[in-house]
């Protein structure tokens, strides 16, 4: 489903990704683990199309199409979803208004026509209930003044609603207590399907106790250093990343 080939990315003069290759199949949950500052979030942002990164080499194919030249909203319409590590606060825009705008924009882009509002609100409320999100929050401005846990749940709620083909979860576990973590993981697990794939980016193994990955990739120095099954995560938990971070370490 997603095929990244020899991806090189820089910010200014600094090289962040240096020949990263990765493949995720439909139905697969792939985890990327790695030390801080190794380019995990850069990978997530580059796939989603954030400005400020220069792709100097390589490509990223979603269902066979290179998405790196597309606008962020075009990628979203093709089913790419990024759950942000730091969800952005948007004062003045009610959460419900935003959800409606996003869903309809994607539907329009896919030629599906807008969803009837009552229908949509029903779906949002149902999704909110499933994630233990207070429906009052839907009236508030998006993410503005939300707690860390509320923000992360809102990301998963959006994922549930937008039903992407390929979802990237960027450090979704950071800043969550154990109960919130479980709710978020349940939300992800409920969405697992054979025509959908996940790329779960995390620093700790903890999240992977709740979202069982099919494959685990170790990322360091801008590349995938090693690929294995779930057992690799446990090994990292025990030994840390020292085998991967630079020759000197």
């Amino acid at each position: 489903m997603l095929e990244i080939k020899n991806l090189h990315v820089s910010i200014g003069d600094r090289k962040i990704l240096e020949g990263l290759s990765l493949s995720v199949k439909a139905g697969e949950v792939a985890a990327i683990m790695g030390p801080n500052g190794t380019g995990k979030s850069t990978l997530a942002y580059v796939l989603a199309g954030r400005e400020g990164y220069e792709v100097t080499e390589g490509e990223a194919l979603l269902d066979g199409e290179n998405i790196l030249g597309l606008e962020p909203h075009q990628r979203a319409a093709r089913g790419l979803f990024l759950a942000f590590q730091y969800p952005v606060e948007i004062p003045g825009v009610a959460t419900m208004t935003f959800l409606k705008a996003a869903l309809n924009a994607q539907r329009r882009a896919r030629g599906e026509g807008e969803a009837p509002t009552p229908d949509l609100m029903k779906r949002v409320r149902a999704a909110a209930k499933g994630l233990g999100v207070d429906s009052e929050i839907l009236k508030r401005a998006l993410n503005a003044g939300f707690s860390g846990g509320e923000k992360k749940r809102m990301e998963i709620l959006q994922m549930a609603l937008l039903a992407p083909r390929f979802a990237i979860l960027d450090e979704t576990d950071s800043g969550l207590d154990i109960d919130a973590l479980r709710v978020v993981a349940d939300g992800v697990n409920a969405l697992r399907a054979k025509d959908r794939a996940f790329l779960v980016i995390t620093h700790y193994q903890r999240l992977l106790n709740y979202i069982r990955p099919d494959t685990v990739h170790v990322m360091a120095r801008g590349r995938i250093m090693r690929t294995g099954g779930p057992e690799l995560a446990l090994e990292l938990e025990k030994n840390g990343y020292r085998d991967y971070v630079g020759e000197a370490a």
């Binding site: 989603a48 199309g49 954030r50 400005e51 606008e71 962020p72 909203h73 990628r75 979203a76 319409a77 979803f81 990024l82 942000f84 969800p87 952005v88 606060e89 948007i90 004062p91 003045g92 825009v93 009610a94 208004t97 935003f98 705008a101 996003a102 869903l103 924009a105 994607q106 882009a109 401005a141 959006q158 937008l162």
Partner: protein
Amino acid sequence: MSVQAIETQTPAEAALARSFAAMQDKGAAELRRAAWAAFSRKGLPNRRVEAWHYTDLRAALRVVAPLGDAPTQASPVLEKSRAVRLVVLDGFFRPDLSDLAALPDGVAAQSLRETLAGADADVLAALAPSGLGGDDAVVALNAALMQDGVVVRIAPGLHVARPLELAILTSGGPAHGACTRSLIVAGDGSKACVIERSKALAPSGAQENHALVFAVGSNCEIEHVARIAPQGDDAIRVYSLLLALAGNSDFKSFGLIEGGGLVRRQIFARFESEDSRVAFDGVSLLRARHHADITLFIDHASARCVSRERFRTILDGEATGVFQGKVVVRPGAQKTDGAMQSKALLLSEGAAMNSKPELEIFADDVVCGHGATCGRLDADQLFYLEARGLPRREAEGLLIEGFANEAIDNVSDEAAREEFSAALRAWLAARENNQ
């Protein structure tokens, strides 16, 4: 009685002096004379006057439009209003166009001219509250030249269910002037919503100087919403809101400015007694070469009062926005709580914004603050929306709406809030079409 001359008079000031000469016997002669004296000491405000630093009225006002001394014959057909409407057209109150019959019991409305003829000392005092806006040359000019207006009295304890609408209309045509002053006296314990709607039936280069005075009693709840519709590009308009607020009352005011030539909305508010709250909010939607100036003077003259101001300026084209807000806490006004915020969004290269939030504090047990930002749309917010599937233009539109909503959301009257949101969307759609 000779008319006092302004030193180094400009032709415009000379024309204003002639207007005053024609107006000085139209009731409230004392008040007019004192106001003219105050104006003529200062002349038209210009860059050197601190409160007018960013809006040089003397430079803008070259030729003064004449003021009519009687109502015009115009008899426009007005759309239906959900509110009880009082119409001031071309400077004069028009009972024939107003819904006087629909006024609820306990609400009285009278033209300013009639009121002045009665020369009730209390009304005169309420009409030009001493010290409130008195330093401002345009407020003084308004008192000297006022043609007419409406005086509304709301009986103590009355809760007015249907909003009152003050429609300040001009019929347009060749450059003309209008100078009105209206007064709303809210008796103790009353509750009301007042809609001020300023509109040109045919946009033109009008010169307008309108003052609206609120004398609000204790234990009141008053909401004021103003919509200042677009005017011709060479129009010059100043709207002054004067508020004298008694104790333990709530007053809030929202203003939407939709640009057109030069507009200044100035607010002078004073807490006459303790434990009251005010909220002033506003949105300015500017494009082309519009110039809009919001200037506030919030006088915490009493203890334990709360003031909140949230203003949003959205600038496109080569528009210029101005925000000046001065919060003064007088000696002894302890436990004052004041927070003021101005944010400006510059959507185009040619736009410019000037902000001057000001604190002047003479009491120590206070919590006061202000914030001012200006800049373009936030790149992180844009990316977040795009990553959720919104095309760039739509994402921008949603962010601009959200930006303005932060102020619009503070309007309590739901229909008014919806009207403002619709006006905002229309403005955005017009912007979209121009691109």
